[in-house]
Each structure stands twice: as structure tokens, then as C-alpha cells.
């Protein structure tokens, strides 16, 4: 059967497959499958393991289409696996430069996109490639950005209509951020949206002097898409330099924001900034979740997100209007949010030479890993961190192209052990419904299923299933490897599978027959 994943199929999101990073365009990371459920999850067992031939950190979230699993493998390779046995069908190996890569946080890749018969991947040297899904042959390879200027790509692209949307990393290198869309068939660029406005563009006045040139605001987590409203939602990251705001006075738009863009032209429809003039590295690079709910008895189209700054936000996704915002994890930096959603700052939380202790820590109340929304349970699930660090600022140094541009550092709080939890929130209010405590702050995302389960992982390697209604743990497996990825679920040969990357393996589970 030829590989043909057209746009309609991705919109339909048949639960037998997993055709886009978050499972559907709305960002749910939810599988409607119910074959694995509360009653039989105790019998969930590993059915195959694929051992990845690399010691780099594995953060990939697979795609599944018609019985074949597609994964990105370190450093920038693509592999197709048989979903029944884990047998490798083909591997595309891409050469990457050695010493010149600029990656802040590992030579990682978080996943692929698929459209038609092509797979798309962003490479660590900031290229976008298209690989034939049947044979693994390269179709095209284009440069998105010059990696020597501080850019890299680690996130999964988003394929929609006839285009592939891709974001970039570079927040630690002062690399001016942007979001690009390319035509899927030939890799020609359709549009680019600069997240740091240049002279004459709206928002430019929120950067003092020439600081916009090294303003960063990268786009390094896959966004979401509303086909009816024809709106693309994408988060942006920290302003540059990361930990010192004195060189860049002003709100620093559009850093730490949610953008709503026209997917056909890249024009901005609205934006909302979570952390104006950020000095704690609290990127708003999270998957936006699009849900429809009543607020004050009126049906509304919402976008909700648990932000790295430890606040959970409810916005109107047509206008960007702020509706609600409450903390979902430990935070000491803001008294709350004002009626427009702007933080009311606590005093003395800016980084200092001696170091100032602030919650959340630099990894945030949550980070890049995925939240989940279950239409069945009516709940929003988040893997949350409760910790703190000492933030240090250092004297300003000039920006140098392609060099780290942090102007600060952070130090662990040694006598306080950080904690974490999987939390279930009421989506329209952020009210906590239940929480499942974790031994240490998590580094991985969650998946909810129609079987009434929430799957998650821990840095110690536990892969577990909770009851989505109560948070009660129902099953766990010691994978033996750090889990720093997001789970998926799919079905083939009449069986429901759950897959997670753990350590240096891809592990697949099914219920013992």
C-alpha cells in the first residue's frame, strides 16, 4: 500500500495512526483508543524494543501511519520501523557538521512530520529535509538558517495543507528568532515571520537601542492549528541575552509569547505575551492546546497553556483576549496576573551577582514536553516541576555572532530537593482536580487515552499509567533509562500499542494476550 498521508487524514486524526507531533492539530496528545483501559492496564507488557545506535539523549516522539513507525534518531537520522516487531525497515543517515554545531541542550530531535509520501525533519545544523517515506531516500534538503550564527533545529515540523512549518532554536546564542513555512513538494520558502520585529515593524519599540538584533525569541516547540479559523498557534522563547535584561529595556516583543498567525501568509493576527522582559529563561515554547468551552455561560473558542513561568493561562483563541490565569506549580516571582494577564511582579526576583533564589527554577514549572487534553475526561494534564534555582547575572559583555549569549548563570539549591507531579486541571479555570506526586521534577510529557488513562515517565525511568479521573497509579514499568520524551498510542493488527522513548531505546507496550 503506498504511503499517502494527505492533509484530510491528518485533520481526521484516526486513532489507529499518529500522523502529527501532538496526535492532532489541536495539540491534545490524546488517543481515543480504549482497548487498553483501567481494567487491563495491569497486564501491559513490553512487546519490542528498538535500541538506538547512539549515546545522545533520545527525545523523539514517533509518528505511525499504516503499520509503520517513523522516528528521528540522533543526530539527524530518520528510521522506519515495523510496528509489530520493531524491525528496522530503512534508515536515512544524514551527515552533520562536527565542531560547528550550536546546540544548547544536546544533539536532540523531538520528531517528524508527514504529508503525502514525504517525511520532514529539522536537522541540528538548521536544515529542513524531506525523505521519501517508502524508501528513505532524500527528496530535498534546504538550509533554514546558517547554524554558525547560533541556529539549530530540534523540534518536529508541522505539516498542514501544502506546507511544512518549522521553528528554530538559538535563544542561548542571541540568534534572532523566526518561524518559517516551506512548500512540501519542493522545499521553497512560502513565508517567514520574524519573532523579533525589525525597524518599522510593530513591537520594535519594545527593544532599547540595537538590542533587537540579538533578541532571540526562538520558536523551538511544535505549534497547533485550527483548520476552521485558519489560525496557526506557536510559542516563542526567551529574549536575548537570556539572564540579563539591562541591555534590552522594554517588554521585548514577541519573546515569551503565543503568536496567532495566518498559516497561508505568516501574518500575525494577534499575540499574547506571558512574561514581558523575561530575565529567567522562561520560554513560552509549549504546545498550545485548542479547546471549546463555555466561559460565563457563553461558548468560546479557547487556547490554554501551562507556561514555563508556572502560570496556567486561558485565552480566547480568536482574539487573544486573556480570560484566566492561575499558578499550577510552585512560583515566587509574581503576586498574580492583572486583568489583562500581565504579571504583577514580586520585588527582588531579578538575577543579581550574588544570586537570588526564585521559583520556578530555570527549567520552569513545565518545559517543552507535551501536556495532554482528554475530551473524554474533560481534563488538562501537565507534568509539572516544583523547584527553585539561584539566578546570577554577570556584567554585560558584547554580543558576538554565534557565541553563547546568556550573561548570567544559575546554581542549584543544594539543600532543597525539587519535586514534581502530574497534575489534572479543569481546563477552563486551571483549578487543580488531582495530582500524582513524582519523586523528582519531570523531564517528559503525558499522553491521555480513551481507555481512561494518563501515561507519563520519570527521570528515574519509570513509565507509568494513572487513572485519568483520579490520578491513582494503575501500572508502572522500570525502563532503566531516563525518560525525556512524549508517549504515543496507535493500533494495528487489532492491537493497541503504547510507545515511549526511554534511555537509548524505543519501547513498545501492549496488553498481554
Amino acid at each position: 500500500m503506498p504511503v499517502d498521508v494527505d492533509y484530510q487524514r491528518i485533520m481526521k486524526a484516526d486513532p489507529a495512526d499518529w500522523l502529527t507531533y501532538s496526535g492532532n492539530y489541536q495539540g491534545y496528545r490524546h488517543s481515543a483508543l480504549a482497548q487498553v483501559n483501567r481494567n487491563n492496564v495491569r497486564r501491559l507488557k513490553p512487546v519490542w524494543i528498538h535500541q538506538v545506535p547512539s549515546m545522545e539523549r533520545l527525545q523523539t516522539s514517533p509518528l505511525v501511519a499504516d503499520g509503520v513507525m517513523y522516528i528521528s534518531e540522533p543526530i539527524s537520522n530518520v528510521t522506519a520501523l515495523d510496528i509489530r516487531t520493531g524491525r528496522v525497515l530503512w534508515t536515512f543517515r544524514r551527515s552533520v557538521p562536527g565542531l560547528t554545531i550550536r546546540a544548547c541542550c544536546g544533539l536532540v530531535n523531538r520528531g517528524l512530520a508527514i504529508l503525502g509520501d514525504l517525511l520532514f525533519m529539522g536537522t541540528i545544523d538548521a536544515h529542513l529535509i524531506a525523505v521519501d517515506a517508502r524508501s528513505g531516500r532524500l527528496r530535498w534538503d534546504i538550509q533554514v538558517a546558517n547554524h554558525q550564527l547560533g541556529y539549530a533545529i530540534t523540534s518536529a515540523p508541522l505539516a498542514l495543507k501544502d506546507k511544512v512549518v518549522i521553528g528554530v532554536s538559538g535563544g542561548e546564542f542571541g540568534a534572532r528568532g523566526f518561524l518559517d513555512a516551506y512548500y512540501a513538494k519542493n522545499g521553497k520558502r512560502a513565508w517567514r515571520f520574524w519573532t523579533v520585529p525589525g525597524p518599522g515593524e510593530t513591537g520594535h519599540e519594545t527593544w532599547s537601542g540595537e538590542s533587537w538584533k540579538s533578541g532571540a525569541a526562538p520558536t523551538w516547540v511544535t505549534g497547533s492549528f485550527d483548520p476552521e479559523l485558519n489560525l496557526l498557534f506557536w510559542g516563542t522563547g526567551n529574549p536575548g541575552p537570556v539572564l540579563n535584561g539591562n541591555l534590552r529595556l522594554g517588554d521585548n516583543l514577541f519573546s515569551d509569547s503565543l503568536l496567532a498567525l495566518d498559516p497561508d501568509t505568516g501574518e500575525r493576527r494577534w499575540h499574547f505575551q506571558f512574561t514581558p522582559h523575561d530575565v529567567h529563561d522562561w520560554d513560552a515554547n509549549q504546545v498550545p492546546v485548542l479547546i471549546d468551552r463555555s466561559i460565563d455561560s457563553k461558548p468560546r473558542k479557547l487556547v490554554v497553556t501551562a507556561n514555563r513561568n508556572a502560570f496556567y493561562y486561558v485565552l480566547d483563541r480568536q482574539s487573544g483576549e486573556f480570560l484566566r490565569g492561575v499558578p499550577f506549580s510552585k512560583q515566587t516571582w509574581a503576586k498574580g496576573l492583572d486583568p489583562k494577564g500581565r504579571p504583577i511582579l514580586e520585588p527582588n526576583t531579578n538575577p543579581t551577582q550574588e544570586g537570588v533564589k526564585v521559583s520556578p527554577g530555570v527549567l520552569g514549572g513545565t518545559n517543552w514536553w507535551s501536556p495532554s487534553y482528554s475530551p473524554q475526561a474533560g481534563l488538562f494534564f501537565i507534568a509539572a516541576r516544583d523547584d527553585a534555582v539561584f539566578y546570577h547575572a554577570i556584567e554585560p559583555l558584547p554580543y558576538r555572532t554565534g557565541r553563547l549569549f546568556l550573561l548570567g548563570t544559575y546554581r542549584a539549591v543544594l539543600d532543597e530537593k525539587g519535586k514534581g507531579a502530574v497534575r489534572a486541571l479543569r481546563p477552563e479555570t486551571g483549578e487543580k482536580v488531582w495530582e500524582f506526586p513524582l519523586h523528582s521534577p519531570p523531564l517528559s510529557g503525558v499522553l491521555s487515552t480513551g481507555g481512561g488513562l494518563v501515561f507519563g515517565g520519570t527521570p528515574e525511568g519509570n513509565f507509568f499509567a494513572l487513572d485519568a479521573a483520579t490520578g491513582k497509579p494503575l501500572w508502572q514499568f522500570d525502563t532503566g533509562g531516563e525518560i525525556i520524551a512524549n508517549p504515543i498510542s496507535y493500533m494495528s493488527y487489532g492491537r493497541q500499542y503504547v510507545t515511549i522513548a526511554a534511555g537509548h531505546t524505543i519501547l513498545t507496550f501492549a496488553v498481554d494476550e
Binding site: 545506535p53 547512539s54 534518531e73 543526530i75 539527524s76 537520522n77 543517515r93 544524514r94 551527515s95 552533520v96 557538521p97 562536527g98 565542531l99 560547528t100 544548547c104 542561548e172 544570586g355 546570577h392 554577570i394 556584567e395 557565541r403 553563547l404 546568556l406 548563570t409 546554581r411 542549584a412 543544594l414 539543600d415 530537593k417 506526586p437 513524582l438 519523586h439 520519570t458 528515574e460 525511568g461 519509570n462 507509568f464 497509579p473 508502572q476 522500570d478
Partner: protein
Amino acid sequence: MEISKKALFTCAILVGSGCVLIGYESFSGDAPESALTKAVYILQNEARIRWYQLIYARLNLEAGRNKQLYLQNCGGCHGPDGHNGRAANLAVTRLLRAPDDAALTALIQGGIPGTSMPAIMLDARAAWQIAAHVRRLGRAPKMPGGDSALGKQLFETKGHCLECHTVGSQGATTGPDLSAIGSKRGVQALRRAILNPAASEAYQLVEIITRGGQRVTGFRANEDTFSIQVRALSGRVTSFLKDEVADVRIDRTKSLMPGYQNEFTQLEMDNVVAYLASLRGAQ
């Protein structure tokens, strides 16, 4: 055509430099690298290391900047002059975990997993500059004041320390091995550990109350969200699933080791700390 030795030598130098000057080399994802590609990569890396060693370490260029980078990134824990901090004394001629400059730089950037030494997010150049300053500190070694010979006596007699700790081939294994403690901790940390000991991760005391009402106590060997492994004083390990026991009580602040506030005088403390600081592992 005769090729003179001089010509050959010049050729070799040119080829070598040519390889080094190639600004762009690549290696394939996980296919076997060609021998030439590997050689070029190694040559470039070696050249870069030699370059930094020459510029920052040997010629002592940018000494002020090196010091500034050190103070910003390391001074908080290691002390402004590399000693007297909480963290390991860097004002020593030999660093246990950094036998050469490349290892020191890798350690600065990558941290020491499982310890309080974090990975410092710096590019290679800045890491080399810090390494250069650390080596400079090591060229004027400083040990804490105090008589380490007297400290050794106190350690072995009045302190009764070998009843729980090991130094070299002597002592017991109830508490941590101190044979190289001077390489791992600074004087501030050593002093605090004696006066007001808090248990490190592997030595936290844990008490399990089983469903049957039994109490099992010991050290916390490891733990995750679902299980905890307890090591009794005898050394025997028992593994518990948290949902199969009634209670897990960990006092993360308490240590089995008594505090020595009232045991040692100030002078005696100085001597014991000096002794511990001198314990730098197998030479």
C-alpha cells in the same frame, strides 16, 4: 625526480596545516566514518586544543578576563581564590579528576554527574579560559591553616572517626569513604559536615513501616516514585514497593553521624579540617 627531505617535510607541514585549515568537516550519522574523515576531525580537534592551551594557558593571555569568567561561574562555590569554599579546593597542583587540560575543560562544560558540580553552559573558548585560570590557581597551592598531623591524631582518637569512616585501608564502612574527601569538598563544607552533619543522598536515614507494623530502618540506597531500596547497617539491601508498605519516613536532614560542636575546640577543628583537606586519594 629526487625529492629532498626538506621538501618532504615542508609538504607534510603544508598538508597538515591544510587539513587543519579546512573549516568544515563532517561525519556521517552512524555509518562508519572514512579513515580520512576521522583523521581530519581528530586533527582539527587536536589543533583547537593546542591553540587554546598555547593562547590561554601557556602565554597567559587575557588573564584578567580568565579570572573574571572564573569568578562569575565558579567563585560562588569554589571561593574567589579557589580554596576556602564549599566545593573542592582548586588551589592545588594536581586535580584528581582533571589530569590534563582537555579533561579539565570537559569537566567544566559537562560537570560531574551525580555531584554538586553542574555543567556550565559556556562555549569551548570560555571554558578554556576558565581552565587556564584554574591552572594558574594551582601553581600557587594553598592549603587551609591548621596542623594536619595533629588533625590525624584527633581524627583517629578523640573523634572516633574510623569507627564509621574509611581512610585508605583503615576504618569501617558505615559512613562514606573519606580517602579522597579533600579533593571533593572545600573547607567550608568539611567544617559544616563535622559540626552539623546532614546526610548526603546515599546516606539518608529511612524508616519503613510495613503493613504488618514492622519497622525497618537503614540507609536509602536508591528511590524512585514507586519504590525505595534500603541498606541496613549490616549492608543487606531490601527493596520495597511504596504502595505495599504503610509508611516511608525519610528525614532528609538527619544524619547518623553525631555533630562535633561540643567535642572539638576551635583549634582542634582547624587541625581536623586541615587533615581532611589533605586527603586526596591514591597518589
